[in-house]
Each structure stands twice: as structure tokens, then as C-alpha cells.
Symmetry: C2
Subunit: 314 residues, 2 copies
DNA sequence: GATGCTTACGATACCCGTAAAGATA
DNA sequence: TATCTTTACGGGTATCGTAAGCATC
């Protein structure tokens, strides 16, 4: 049994059992890949992959149980590699951030600019996606850090930290009747068609929940996943917008008015999350701390108690 | 980087950096061990071991952080091996149990006999030790299962399950004045010299706590770690015994009388524990379930290993 | 016929063990 | 001096890649 064999198992699962792809991904020959898998199955004495003729089609039951073990083992291998890099190339490397449009466009730029200034030798990679995709990216080790309002905090494998808290706000064309009200009520809003986020994005669930709780029925005439699109349609008069106020720029959005609605919708918390069992390079940890000062405490490091060096032998 | 190098790192830490011993333990040459460590440090670009001249004396800071990662990685490697054995040699192998004298002598025999009858091809290994040693054995992967009343439940890395609950009882010579009392009080006991367990054994802390709480001072004239020794001294008239009632055998201990004292001391729970992140072979899991029926739920298996401790956002 | 897996085979690199040398206590 | 680690060197083996052979779709 060796590490390359385990890497191949993992990659085979990820690539849906196409060994040609696996070989390409691992920069090796597919004949070697094939042999390694057969050797491993031989050594373990268990068939891990189901086959239809020569082609692999899936995992056997032992294979299904083995797969997460392999993942954890290789994750730990990555931790070792990262730990070494952490000490040798202190401020050099890559930081991969998975985030939603709204965060990438409005919440992160300031932090990223400051971070880049302090770590000029770190290249940043922004992977944009839906919250559920960000969770998947974190779990598959495709990004180091995830930022979103939804989905992250619910995943037990992730440690998430509060980035900022906010309430939805209402955006309307500058001359809209709602701008003349002293204070908004949900009933006022329900009278108009709404324009807001897709389900699963940027706190959409909170928006719906508020109306349901008030016994009002609202009509979402258009839902989209990014705030810019929403604002564009509000400007066209399609409906009134319910968006994250971070996404409102007084200067740029001069054709629109932002009406606070803190009292109407439940609070949202945008969080930054990392895989619990993954070692974070120094600069990655710093990035996390810049977003969430209260994350300074954690940092995973040596959580698992060192085996007592002393009582072992004799 | 390869698995052998990591095994060597782990063994070097356990053997306190004596590479000659490491080589012996891993059935290889010490020159190879030395080279592997140097190669690994080269590849990682970090010195892992502190050296005085040529001798290794300890871990550097990177080494200290790396060590637990290596342990987790190799634990996972063991899980893979065990999983394979689980499927190939279903009811064949070894079961290593770490336990205290009292459990080995009185609580386990019946279960072990039944187990052995059902799994004739499994060899059992009883490692006897103090509760703290049992914890160390579990963490160092020297035993599969631990049984004790103390120490186990307090360790976050272990999952422990209630085996049985009990209260301390009093043992006295057959004709002792205490046998004539309707019911015992702590004050009655405090009048005599006591014979009971060592600190850290079989609920000793509960015994002391009871007297302290009652504002009484008790004198332990002899403490020992096994119940048989205690009973012998009680029989000699050295003092009255406070022991686990499991350890009393009406026929064999005919020179003694057992006086219940459920109302005097707090309840103890003897537990069976396993390392959380360790895969249990089928028969090992069965043994656990025979002791603790409510352990049937757990079993680690495909449940993404819960990383130790730390919670964060919500 | 295109794609994908396995087998065969030769070159390379890696790993191990013996032996000798160097360092430490 | 005895113990321990490193370096040197040679033999064996495992790994890898190319190429050919087959199965699947």
C-alpha cells in the first residue's frame, strides 16, 4: 500500500471512475493507474470497484466505506505539506476563496485589497458559486476558505465564523411611492411585485419567512442570484427589490433609493468557513482573522493530543 | 514523501528519538531509518528533529506540529487495513482489551467466555493497567478497547459507553461489630481504619468525596489497586474495606461480610471506551455491544469522523 | 470506430541492507 | 570504550512510461 495508490483511489472516485482522466489529473500513465488499483485490491484482498467487463462503474460496499478513510488520510497528507510550506515559504503561495457574487463584489474587495498589499507574493483565486457549491468546494478541498450567508454554518465538517450581520433592505426607484412612507411594513411591500434572490442565496429564506409569519402572501416576480441583476430590474420598474444593503452604492445607484427594513426581516449572518480538519497556512489564517476577528482563537493547529511520548514503551 | 517515512517519524517520537530502537521496531536497518528522516526533512524543507551533534534529542516546533498530523494519517492507514481485514477475515484476528484488575477479574469473565465461544478464531489479549495507562494505551493504538471506571470518560478523543453502574460497598470480617447495625452511616465507617483503592482507581475519588462532604475525616490505613489484595487485608483485621461489590464472591469470601452502602457513596459508572476515529472490526464492535447495548448506534463507520472539540458559528 | 482498461516489457529510480567511518556519552 | 548516527556502496525491486492487445460503447 502506498500513497500514490490512495491518491488514485480518491481521484478515481472524483472522476467517476474514468481512469484515463485520473491519469491525466495525476500526471501519470493510465496503465500505471490501472495497475495500482489492481495491486491495491490484491493487497487488501477486497474488490473496491464494481466493473462491467473492463470498465469501472462504481464502488463496491467495501469501497464505499474505504473512500472516506482515504479522503481523510490524504487530507492529513495535505496538512503535512501545507505545514511544511507554512514554515519554508512563509508568505508565498495561493489562497483559494469560494464565495458568492454578492460577497465577491461588495463585501470582500476592501479586505482583499488590504490583504494583497500585505502579502504581495500570495496569489488569490476567487471561485464563484452558489452557497451549496461553496460547501462542496470546501469539502473537496478545492478552496481554502468559503464566504457566504447560507449553507456554510449548517455543515458540521466546517468551522464557520461570523463575518458581518445585516438585515435585508428594500430598493425602489428614486420616485417610488414607498419612499414617502415614514416607515415600511410588510403589508406595504406585499402590495408590490418583488424582485429578490434565488432560493438558497443571500438569505432568501429569511425574506419568505417574514411574509409567511405575518400571514401575507408575496409575489416574487423575478429572482436572480446577484444583486446587480436585481437592481437593474428594479430600475426598470419590474418590482421592488429586497436585497442585501451591502450591495447598494449611493453614488453608483443614484437612480434608486434604499429603504431600511431592519424591523421587517430577521437578521442574517454572513460567515467565513474553513474545513475543520484542514491546516491553514499563516496567511490564510490571517485572511480569516481579518474577516472574523473572533476566529483568532481557533486555528485548528494541534487539536489532537500528542500521544504521550512518555508512557509508550517499557 | 512516503508512508514508511511517516511511520519512522511516529516511531521515532514514541521511542524518544533512538533510531536504533526505531529500526528494530519497524524491522528495518537503522541506516535506512536515518536516511529516510533526512530525506523527509529535505523534501519538506524543514528540520523536524532537534539534534545535539549527531544524536536526535527532540522535536523542533514544526516537528511538534507535524507529529499529531502523522499520527492521524497513520491511524487512518490502520483503519484502511482493518476495514480490509473486516471484509476478508470476518471473524478472525486479535482483540486487545485494556482493563483494570477489578474488571478483568470480576466483570469481564462472563462476557469474555461467551465472546470466545462465538468467535473461536479471535485471540484475546488482556492488557492490565491503571486507568490512566489504559487511556494512554488507547491513544497509542496499543489496545482496541478499554474498560475502567476512571479516566476514560474524561478523554475527548475517546467515545465511552456505560457498562454498568454501581456503588461502593463495605467489607468487614464476618463477626465485625458493624455487621450488627441496621444501616451504616459514614460516621460509623470513619471510626475504623479504612482499606480501599489507590487514588485514580475504581472510584476512589468518590470514596474520599463522600467523607469530605460529610465533614468527616477518614483514615486510609492501606490502599491497593486490586480488590483481592484489599480483601486479604480486611480478613487480616487491618481495617474495614470499601470496595466495588462486583469483587465480592459470597462463596469464596466466606470469611467476610458485604455491607451495602449505596446510600453513602455516589454512584460509579464503569465504562467501555474506544478511540473515536478508529475503525472497529466486526467482532470488536460486537464485543463493545455485548458490554454496552446502547453502543449499537455509534460504530464510527462512514460517519465523517467528528474532529475533536471546538465549535464556532452557531 | 472511438474510447477506455489491461498486459507486456524495458529503463529508471528508489529502497534496503552491509559495512565502514564519524560523533557522542 | 560503547553506543549511536551518518555516509558510502551495491544488489534487488518497484514504479513508470511506451506500446500493443482487448473489451466496451
Amino acid at each position: 500500500m502506498n500513497l500514490q495508490q490512495l491518491r488514485i483511489v480518491q481521484e478515481a472516485v472524483r472522476r467517476r471512475f474514468n481512469l484515463t482522466e485520473v491519469a491525466a489529473a495525476l500526471y501519470t500513465s493510465q496503465s500505471g493507474v490501472s495497475k495500482h488499483l489492481i495491486d491495491l485490491e490484491d493487497e487488501l484482498g477486497v474488490q473496491l470497484f464494481m466493473r462491467r467487463g473492463k470498465r469501472l462503474t462504481g464502488l463496491t460496499e467495501p469501497g464505499r466505506e474505504l473512500s472516506p478513510m482515504v479522503d481523510r488520510l490524504l487530507l492529513e497528507l495535505g496538512n503535512i505539506r501545507r505545514l511544511a510550506d507554512h514554515f519554508t515559504q512563509r508568505d508565498e503561495g495561493t489562497l483559494r476563496i469560494g464565495t458568492t457574487h454578492t460577497q465577491a463584489r461588495y463585501a470582500l474587495p476592501k479586505i482583499i485589497a488590504a490583504f494583497q498589499a500585505d502579502y504581495p507574493r500570495v496569489s488569490l483565486l476567487l471561485h464563484q458559486g452558489a452557497p451549496a457549491e461553496i460547501v462542496a468546494m470546501l469539502l473537496a478541498d478545492e478552496v481554502d476558505i468559503g464566504v457566504a450567508t447560507e449553507a456554510l454554518a449548517a455543515e458540521a465538517q466546517l468551522a464557520s465564523y461570523a463575518f458581518y450581520r445585516w438585515h435585508h433592505a428594500v430598493v425602489v426607484p428614486r420616485d417610488h411611492p414607498l419612499t414617502r412612507l415614514e416607515s415600511l411594513s410588510l403589508a406595504d411591500l406585499a402590495a408590490y411585485p418583488l424582485v429578490t434572490y434565488h432560493a438558497g442565496f443571500t438569505g432568501r429564506s429569511r425574506v419568505d419567512a417574514a411574509f409567511v409569519r405575518a400571514g401575507l402572501s408575496h409575489r416574487v416576480v423575478l429572482s436572480a442570484l446577484d444583486s446587480d441583476v436585481l437592481k437593474a430590474y428594479v430600475e426598470l420598474g419590474l418590482g421592488i427589490g429586497v436585497i442585501a444593503p451591502t450591495a447598494f452604492d449611493t453614488r453608483r445607484d443614484s437612480g434608486l433609493a434604499l429603504l431600511p427594513a431592519d424591523h421587517l426581516f430577521e437578521e442574517n449572518t454572513t460567515v467565513v468557513a474553513v474545513r475543520r480538519d484542514r491546516f491553514l497556512r499563516g496567511y490564510a489564517r490571517d485572511f480569516l482573522c481579518r474577516c472574523c476577528p473572533d476566529a483568532a482563537a481557533q486555528t485548528h493547529m494541534s487539536t489532537a493530543a500528542m500521544p504521550p511520548v512518555e508512557t509508550a514503551g517499557a
